[in-house]
């Protein structure tokens, strides 16, 4: 244990922060001898900066953030690594109820975009939750599949997840791609309808990971191993259907998600927290994420294999949990 007090770990209020919250509240950190203080953060940018500056030891991170931070895209370069993936699933595109009506929502959207272009009206605004997220890539991929160019035919912006339902209702945005529980929250409020889920398009895509700096990992190898074990066990606990009611009540608490239990339960149904297909950080996933970043012009030519090898660390996962 570091002599300077408990480990500081950051999270964003999302259902997929469950492994950290469960590890803290159900004693999985304590069982590894870890004293941890969880810090709820308001933005991914703050998570990135605090981890980079050492104000946090590690955090719940969007998988592509680890790559963007390491490459210095959108911030100063800081070598970060993903030693365990926390979940798959949960991301989904929700469109305003005004657009979904009856029939094929996607066809309706592309029709509306084309009609507005003919009329010379301003483009529709759609939101993702962060530039470096599978939410952004899913939204763009889905739009491209409708024959729309996401950089030209619509206006893409970023909206903090807790504000998505309200902005959809006010007509500020016409749709968004966010993680659980925010799609269910918009549906429950009657302002939106979920039209596509990441599991239908990319069932293998990693969503959140534990992100730490390469420097911290090298300086604290034993603590990192304990952390990986605690998070893997917390993920298994969260995945056990018997624990679902307790998990929903825990996540709903004001200091964690502060959201409706029904929306959290709906979100949990779409997320996998546990298993050989979920937790080990596989390098092909990092390579795939880098291809997404390149597809949408976020990065130029990079040595994909090299970057994947340095940032995605299945070796550390295996060292902590065994092959």
């Amino acid at each position: 244990m570091s002599p300077s007090g408990p480990l500081q770990l950051g999270f964003i209020p999302l259902v997929d922060a469950a492994p950290l919250i469960v590890a803290q509240e159900k004693g999985f950190f304590a069982a590894e001898g870890l004293a941890v203080s969880l810090s709820r953060e308001g933005s991914w940018a703050t998570i990135r900066d605090k981890v980079a500056a050492g104000a946090l030891d590690g955090a719940h991170m969007l998988a592509p953030m680890v790559l963007a931070a390491s490459l210095g895209i959108g911030s100063e370069p800081k070598a970060m690594i993903a030693p365990i993936a926390l979940n798959r699933g949960g991301a989904a595109v929700t469109l305003s109820s005004r657009l979904t009506g009856d029939g094929d929502a996607g066809a309706g959207l592309s029709h509306l975009v084309r009609r507005r272009q003919e009329e010379g009206a301003s483009p529709l605004t759609l939101a993702a939750v962060y530039p470096f997220s599978i939410h952004n890539y899913l939204l763009r991929h889905w739009l491209a599949g409708l024959g729309l160019n996401p950089d030209v035919d619509v206006r893409l912006t970023v909206v903090p997840p807790p504000r998505t339902a309200a902005l959809l209702g006010e007509g500020v945005i016409e749709g968004f791609c966010a993680g659980a529980p925010w799609n269910a929250v918009a549906e429950a409020a009657g302002v939106g309808q979920t039209v596509v889920r990441v599991t239908e398009v990319w069932p293998e895509a990693p969503d959140k990971v534990l992100g730490v700096t390469e420097f911290w990992a090298a300086a604290n190898p034993a603590i990192l191993q304990s952390l990986i074990r605690a998070l893997a066990r917390a993920g298994a606990w969260a995945a056990d259907p018997h624990n679902q009611p307790e998990l929903v009540a825990l996540l709903a608490r004001p200091e964690f998600l502060d959201a409706a239990p029904e929306a959290i339960a709906a979100g949990l149904a779409e997320i996998s927290f546990d298993g050989a297909a979920v937790n080990p950080p596989r390098r092909e996933q990092a390579a795939w994420l880098l291809e997404q970043m390149a597809r949408w012009g976020q990065i130029g030519e990079v040595a994909i294999d090299k970057v994947a090898e340095r940032t995605w660390r299945p070796d550390l996962y295996t060292a902590a949990l065994g092959g």
Binding site: S43, D49, K50, A53, A55, G74, S75, V129, V158, P160
Partner: protein
Amino acid sequence: MRVLIIDPDPARAALVAEGLDGIDPLKVRVAAVFDEIDVTAFQPDVVVVASESPDRDTLESLREASAVNPRPVVMFVDRSEPGLAEEAVRAGVAAYVVDGLSAARVRPVLEVAMSRFHLMHQLRADLAKAKADLASRKSVERAKALLMKERDLDEEAAYRLLRKLSMDTGRPLGAVAADLLAFAGVLKGGDPT
């Protein structure tokens, strides 16, 4: 220079704005949340954001989309002073600078923001401590009065008894006094809360 301060805490935003007053020429605007239309109209050179504000991610996306956005925004990091960005992170301040503004002009703005954030934090901590001290003093006074009545002690003796309890249990005087009052309440059949 035009500075936009985005902070959900209006008192702190006002404190930063007041601190920036000495830097000239300067026009300062304060907002609780990021509003793109509002920002486009104001045309800030620097945006100072409280890092607890969820609007940081929206601001960063503007820079990301700079090919189509007329006002690129770049996070301020002065490479010549590696500690400054870390210090700002710890103070809870983030700053975004419109391309072209020199680091030398931004630095004083960031320094004022950081010092005012620290000041606000200190003020809030002092206030919380003052409230706790007051509550503790009230508990001690009431516990003393209770001991004087129930044990027929004078004020000095009642205080000494409380202090002995505090030293024996290794707990603060205020906490011992609060416990004593709670127990007395239970013994009298009252509700301890």
